[in-house]
């Protein structure tokens, strides 16, 4: 029985540290109790199949819950990174980089908070905003019309990125096990 307990102790390492601190002992105790009742190889195999399934489900839930609580700090950090990357992107003067930057940013923000995907569609506005802030006008955009077209373009790209993330998030959320 000791080897089974040892193996389960390794599985418990997958849980977040604070959860382990609080619940490792009673979780191991409950598993030991289950082991005592598994008095033949078939019951033991069934117990392990069940335990692996339970651990996968509950580890995912615990980590997702912690991710939720770190959202605000993650948003602030991400917006800061966006502004700095917007500054870098302006220097590259490459449309492909603009599109890639906005797509990835909108995708990640929407993944973190799908309910605000319409807001994240406007993440591309940080490009012309950074241009104004750092005083380096983008070449080929001398007048208001061309600047408005740029805003429309970055909004469209942001919408694509956030829409893709929302679709993918919905389909992966439906795959997560119930608690």
């Amino acid at each position: 029985m000791r080897i089974h307990e040892w193996l389960y102790r390794i599985l418990i390492r997958l849980y977040p540290a604070d959860f382990r601190r609080e619940y490792q002992a009673p979780i191991q105790q409950a598993f030991r109790d289950q082991l005592r009742n598994a008095d033949n190889p078939v019951k033991l195999a069934t117990l392990w199949i069940w335990t692996l399934s339970d651990t996968a489900r509950s580890v995912t839930t615990e980590h997702l819950e912690r991710w939720q609580s770190m959202k605000i700090a993650a948003y602030l950090l991400f917006v800061t990174i966006l502004i700095l990357l917007g500054r870098y992107e302006l220097r590259t003067d490459d449309t492909g980089m603009v599109v890639f930057f906005i797509l990835v940013s909108a995708f990640i923000l929407t993944w973190m908070n799908p309910q605000r995907r319409w807001l994240w569609s406007f993440v591309g506005w940080c490009v012309p905003a950074a241009e104004q802030f750092w005083g380096e006008p983008l070449p080929g955009l001398p007048d208001l019309k061309s600047r408005l077209m740029l805003l429309a373009f970055v909004t469209f790209v942001g919408f694509l990125g956030s829409f893709a993330a929302a679709l993918l998030k919905r389909s992966t959320t439906n795959m997560l096990p119930k608690t």
Partner: protein, 132 residues
């Protein structure tokens, strides 16, 4: 009064402000509260009660059990009731849990909700002869 429930398929916690307006309890939450309605239990006893009450159709492993208990404690639906030995189980010290008044109200509300759904199903003859 605010509390957290695990709802939906993702297992993400949601907050609500009124017990009577809350979304349905998840099966794990409902079964744990039912098991504690009879009195204090330690973790393994809760697992056994749930398996017995559901005729082994619903089983919880230790990870799911203690994750749910953690959320129930945060939501004040369950309270810790100290540690002591269980003479029926090799005298190891075990952590006991009890249901709180909020938890009792939550499980009663959920039972009433399910009862009304069963009534509707009976009227539609989905469960055999409709009740009179």
């Amino acid at each position: 009064m605010t509390y957290l429930l695990t709802g939906g398929r993702s297992g993400i916690s949601i907050s609500v402000t009124d017990i009577n307006a809350m979304e349905p309890l998840t099966p794990a939450v409902f079964h744990i509260l039912l098991a504690l309605a009879d009195g204090e239990r330690h973790g393994y006893a809760i697992m056994q009660d749930v398996a017995a009450a559901s005729a082994n159709t619903f089983r919880m492993g230790p990870g799911t059990l203690y994750g749910t208990l953690k959320r129930l404690l945060a939501a004040d639906l369950v309270a810790e009731a100290g540690e002591r030995e269980d003479p029926d189980m090799n005298d190891e010290r075990r952590r006991y849990y009890s249901i709180t008044p909020n938890g009792r109200q939550a499980v009663i509300s959920e039972a009433k909700r399910l009862e009304s759904l069963v009534r509707i199903a009976r009227k539609k003859s989905l469960l055999g002869v409709p009740a009179r």
